[in-house]
């Protein structure tokens, strides 16, 4: 309606979507890594990521009374979640996928679904013993405030952002920073190190890589370790972003993240990130279509609310698979993980 009121609003929705997109992007990286190497949709990845979220919750809960720096707590939570999720992912691969390496492709896929169901109940039981179901994150002091509020030294930056219409929370900024750092580390790991080279070789052709003296099983384990660690990071970020997690909350973000991986071109690291960001923005836009509908006076848009968000992801998935199965960053220029 009125552009002057609408524009900052849109900017905020898009920025919020980008922040959300970083969470999806990092989950999507976990999918894309595993898919790149094994051509397997690791359905259990959404539970690996929830495990990370649960670990993060426990760390924050245990450290809550401790007067240490909030960022140190965050670091501990991230590292703990990475370790637990990474090892869990390796364990899953070892027990459930490796014996089926040469089976028809449907078989490991069904196993992955089974593993995901098992993990859901195990998580529920473990947390249930403490009488918890919905885990509410107790963030360190100050994490819930606005980014660069009046007290801090970067008031100018905060004010500058606010004049453009961007109103960021501190936790959003943390999310973006952690996301960017892990992305950079992953890019270095896969692109520049011997390990990354070996993983890429295995992804390209497992048999030939074996002939060249690369232990494919170890490389696959390493991939799962990295993917799981990314899942752990994204779990903690998810918890910080949304505040609550339960054993079953992995499904939706898992699906959206997989969509993101496909959207970007599965197997491609920049693709996964791009897909995550795009989907985050799309989802945020669907979430506020009712407000747009109200502003623009379109009644039908008002009926579409947040519950249609996941439909949005699925429609994107269907469209992308029908019209461009290779994803946005098509296969020709994809750097396979």
């Amino acid at each position: 309606m009125d552009l002057a009121t609408l524009l900052p609003f849109i900017v905020n929705v898009v920025v919020g979507g980008l922040v959300l997109g970083f969470v999806y992007a990092i989950i999507a990286l976990g999918y894309t890594m595993v898919y790149g190497v094994l051509q397997l949709i690791n359905f259990a990845h959404s539970e690996v990521f929830v495990t990370g979220a649960v670990v993060g919750f426990e760390v924050f809960r245990v450290l809550a009374p401790n007067p240490m720096n909030g960022y140190l707590k965050l670091l501990i939570a991230l590292v703990a979640a990475m370790v637990v999720s990474g090892l869990l992912n390796v364990l899953i691969e070892r027990l459930a996928y490796r014996p089926l390496r040469n089976a028809p492709r449907l078989v490991p896929l069904i196993t992955a679904i089974g593993v995901s169901l098992i993990l859901q109940d195990v998580l529920r039981v473990i947390e249930g013993f403490q009488g918890r179901f919905d885990l509410t994150y107790t963030l360190p002091e100050g994490f819930s405030g606005k980014f660069c509020s009046a007290e801090s030294s970067c008031v100018a930056l905060g004010n500058a952002l606010r004049t453009v219409g961007i109103d960021l929370q501190l936790k959003d900024v943390i999310l973006i920073v952690v996301g960017l750092v892990s992305l950079a580390v992953l890019n270095y790991l896969v692109g520049r190190t011997r390990l990354g080279k070996a993983i890429r070789a295995v992804a390209q052709d497992r048999v030939t890589a074996g002939l060249m003296g690369i232990d494919a099983n170890r490389m696959i384990s390493a991939t799962f370790l990295i993917g799981g660690a990314l899942g752990g990071i994204s779990g903690v970020l998810f918890g910080i972003k949304f505040g609550t997690v339960n054993a079953y909350s992995g499904f939706d973000p898992g699906i959206i993240a997989f969509t993101a991986a496909v959207l970007g071109g599965i197997g491609s690291i920049p693709g996964a990130v791009l897909g995550g960001l795009v989907l985050g923005v799309i989802q945020n836009l669907i979430g506020v279509t009712n407000i747009f509908g109200g502003l623009l006076g379109i009644a039908n848009l008002e009926a579409i609310d947040a519950s249609y968000q996941r439909i949005g992801a699925f429609i994107v998935l269907v469209l992308i698979l029908i019209f461009k199965p290779t994803g946005l960053l098509g296969k020709s220029n994809v750097e396979k993980v």
Binding site: A103, R105, T111, I255, I311, P325
Partner: protein, 541 residues
Amino acid sequence: MTAVSPAAPRRTRPAPDRTLLLVLTFLATSALLLVSHNGELLGRLGNLGGLLRNPIVEAVVVSLFLANVLFAYLWRAAPWAKALVGLGSLLLVLPWAGQEDTSLLDLSIQIMIFAALALGLNIVVGLAGLLDLGYVAFFAVGAYLWGIFASPRFSEILRYYGENPGATNASTLAFGLFLTAVTAASMVYIRRQVVRPTRASTWSFALASFGLVAGLILTGRALLVLGASRAAGLATGIDANFFWLFLALSVLAAAIVGVLIGLPVLRLKGDYLALITLGLGEVIRVLANNLDLYSAGSQGITPIKSAAVPWFDRLAGALGFQPDQYYLLFLYVLVLVMIAIILMVNIRLDRSRIGRAWIAIRDDEVAAQAMGVPLVQTKLIAFATGASFAGVMGMIFAAKQTFISPESFNLFQSIGVLSMVILGGMGSFPGVILGAAVVTLLNLRILPGLGEATANLGLPQQVNPGQLQRLIFGVILVTMMLLRPEGLLPNRRRALELHHEEDQEDDSAKGSGPALTAGGGDVYSPGLAPQKEDERAGGAQ
């Protein structure tokens, strides 16, 4: 697949004739079932009666009884004995026991509904090799089709359209019908005329299909608006005798939805297809949750009518059933007939040209296509057939529950049906029915029974077996895939196939299980390059 089968030597030795054993088991378990479901008799039995009333014991008795039918199938016995056990169990003993304990009838209906679902999914997954994780969507289509029309929902929809007629009048109906007819005719015409599609023909076809949809919507809306005056008369939904019409319609509707969903997504590879179908299944659930006018949202639709069959009621009355049991007994017989039909269709299809085409596609899509199997058409038939079974059962499910809500149609249900198919054995009809019986018994009797039994042991609520369904489904899926991917009652062809591969890679001392001994070697086996694996799974790309 001409490999030497590991099962071959076993088949040369004939199984012993177990006619007598079969009949004796049948008599014993039937007696046990009848006694344990007779409240009066149990009261007189004292302690023993108490034991038989224990939910776990009861579940075991029911399982033992149902195992009879399985034995009749498995054991070598005289045909009369097999027929006696099969028909006697299902037509005589079960209804008889159900007369005393209605929950038994209820359970049998549930088992058969899920068996039909599993048979339908078996066509899609087991025969055609397309992993469908949104199968329950078709179940929902059937359930909502009957649920909306045979409940007060229908009059509410009519009332809504009566209050909001918009610009609709009788001429809208005429225009809608005209549009529908013209566009449908032109679609057929274009199809006939065009040998090789051009840009113009594709566009005009798309335009015509768009017009068809518009025409159908206009017609439907006009019908609703014009029928709105009768809303008061339909306060409890349409006449129950429409049940039979809707039985046919639900088959049709689910098949159409199956084709509509299948058409765009069947070009995809195995695991992408799984994900897409999962997504579309969720979409249908979200729609059911949000289209409040039609589906009553998350509250669900209730009460839903069942068919009125006076002569059957009289018959049941003459057999000594109580009036409140009539409809359950009716549904029991109906489901029994349905499952017989579905099983027959399945067997006929399996042996037909289509069935062989499905298996060819599952085994190697590229080769099948090269041999002249029309890929899309054959896959669509599989999708539509599987969907239509689910649709009809969805409708019966709605009539039985008298209540449906989106919660009954979530992803977990789809995975439940999938685990039935996998447990029993993909591609094997008796196996799939067994899988359905086992999983349903587990879900409805054994787990709740265990939960009740452990409730007094001071076990925490969280590990109550009644709530561990996901864990158990997961364990079923994983262990079956790892240890016995061909299922409990395997389809012979599939079992050969799965073990054929194993024999190739490790024909030595590793035993019958797959290569659980995870040495590094299995990856490098020559001739098993991953690319080849991809194609085996049926990649179209």
